[in-house]
Amino acid sequence: MPRGNDKEYSVQQMIIEKRLKKKNHFNFEKLIPGLLLLTAVLSVLTTIGIVFTLIFETFIFFDRVSIIEFLTNKKWYPFSATNASFGIMPLVVGTLKITGIAAIVAVPIGLATAIYLSEYASEKARRVIKPILEVLAGIPTIVYGFFALTFVTPILKQMIPSLETFNALSPGIVVGIMITPMVASLSEDAMSSVPRSIREGAFALGATKLETTIKVILPAAVSGITASVVLALSRAIGETMIVSVAGGSTPNASFDVTSSIQTMTAYIVQVSTGDAGYQTTIYYSIYAVGMTLFLFTLFMNLFAQFITRKFKEEY
């Protein structure tokens, strides 16, 4: 556009002038990728650092206690002065019991919630329920811990008289309650992202809502649902406060859920808060347990990725 008079500039001229000014200035644009890369590298380095510390200290532990004893011995008595034994089995069983009970609670309830929210709930109901679920996910785990000990355990005791004050059942159920919102919310995301047109295709064939949900939507969302379950179970494996407060501290390799247990995480808490001396075998044992825990969650994540890829249904 030509210039009308001396005071009026055309837009092109203004842009050209601004660009000239910019060129003389220091160019931020070129710096941005570098800065972003730095932050990305930082978190990767931190992770690598943690893993290396774990590996390093774990090796020192295995200098003192043979890895075969660690894996095969069925007794975990680290504090015994005369006859200490370090068999990881009881702690692993404790963790598995909690995770198993949590899964039994969280998977059906979480999935049912997700199905309701994604397929049946009105927009209004969804708007109320989803935030409540997210609040549930935000409750500090220590609160869940004493909820398990002071509320759930007494109720369970009335039903099962032989239940000990510290047991696997109560914290298992409460861990399940804790991870239910995660299963529900992530599964709901997976189901909601199945395109509407696919639902219409099923309805147009005379399928009912339930037939559409079970036979079309769930299979289409299976990878997302599996990922949500595995992710939630990883949290159950790593859960610490609830089991420390309500699970007890008796390493126990039996699969009885009514007696006191100790999980891998609870053991690490016990040692960290107690007075085990620096560089004692007990001190190093928490790294070995931590390493085991890390391998568990790593395996779970790899498994989730495998499932996601294998069952991926494209749409």
């Binding site: 219409e200 299979p219 494209e314």
Partner: protein, 273 residues
């Protein structure tokens, strides 16, 4: 003896004739009105749709043609805030009556959508899904249904060696014919098609059009299209919708060669729309 036989025969013929006359219309629409909230989308629609014919519904965007076809299998109910008045009789029963089971209706009236929407399953499972939910479990029967439906939709030769593969590996045109096959699998009476070729390339469009010509021997087809040439090519009767009203409805050759309404003439001669 002979006389009575003849009499009874002629009676039979009469009977078949009367039933034939009753069956001539699949749909009778009487004073249908439809609102989306406060928007009046369909206004006093009166339209009778014929058996074993292809009826095309044409009109510019927003004229209510898609709304109308979705009312015929009550898919429109999925839109929140829809209200209707009037009557749509399908084979003599009012489908807008709440006592009419919507699943029953949709097993009689199949639908093919604007964009191909196969299920994220294998080709085989896509076809078998309909019969399966309606209780057909026998593997041999299902195999037969799958083959027959895919042949019916003229796609069997292209997919017979890859029935176990995911349907999303097919091209857009093949996916749409798969969706037609999925619809055929439950042997419906009517097939509704909502702009079935609008997302397809010209060659796939041609294949689907040829298919529609064949299907009309066994099914009554109602097709919404924004493509007037398509309507002229494939349909027996055409209804022209404008702003929620039926402007003109007659057999296709007449409406395109000799429209009575000025608005129809303007539309088909490309003056608007």
């Amino acid at each position: 003896m002979n006389v009575t036989l003849l009499k009874s025969q002629s009676k039979q013929i009469e009977n078949t004739q009367t039933t034939h006359i009753e069956k001539q219309f699949v749909y009778k629409t009487t004073d249908l009105n439809l609102w989306y909230g406060s928007t009046h989308a369909l206004k006093n629609i009166n339209l009778d749709l014929h058996e074993n014919e292809v009826t095309a519904i044409i009109g510019p965007s927003g004229c209510g043609k898609s709304t109308y076809i979705k009312t015929l299998n009550r898919m429109i109910e999925m839109v929140p805030g829809v209200k209707t008045s009037g009557e749509i009789q399908y084979r003599g029963r009012n489908i807008l009556d709440k006592s009419y089971g919507v699943e029953d209706l949709r097993t009689q009236v199949g639908m093919v959508f604007q964009k191909p929407n196969p299920f994220p399953k294998s080709i085989y499972e896509n076809i078998a899904y309909g019969p399966k939910i309606h209780g057909i479990k026998n593997k041999k029967v299902l195999d037969e249904i799958v083959e027959k439906s895919l042949r019916g939709a003229a796609i069997w030769d292209e997919v017979k060696d890859r029935l176990k593969e995911n349907a999303y590996g097919l091209s857009g045109g093949q996916q749409q014919r798969l969706c037609i096959a999925r619809c055929l699998a439950i042997e419906p009476d009517v097939i509704l098609m909502d702009e079935p070729t609008s997302a397809l390339d010209p060659i796939s469009t041609l294949k689907v059009e040829e298919l529609i010509q064949e299907l009309k021997n066994d099914f009554s087809i109602i097709i919404v299209t924004h493509n007037m040439q398509q309507a002229a090519r494939i349909s027996d009767r055409t209804a022209f919708f404008l702003s929620g009203e039926v402007v003109e409805y007659r057999d296709t050759t007449t409406i395109f060669s000799n429209p009575t309404d000025k608005r129809t003439e303007d539309y088909i001669s490309g003056r608007f729309g």
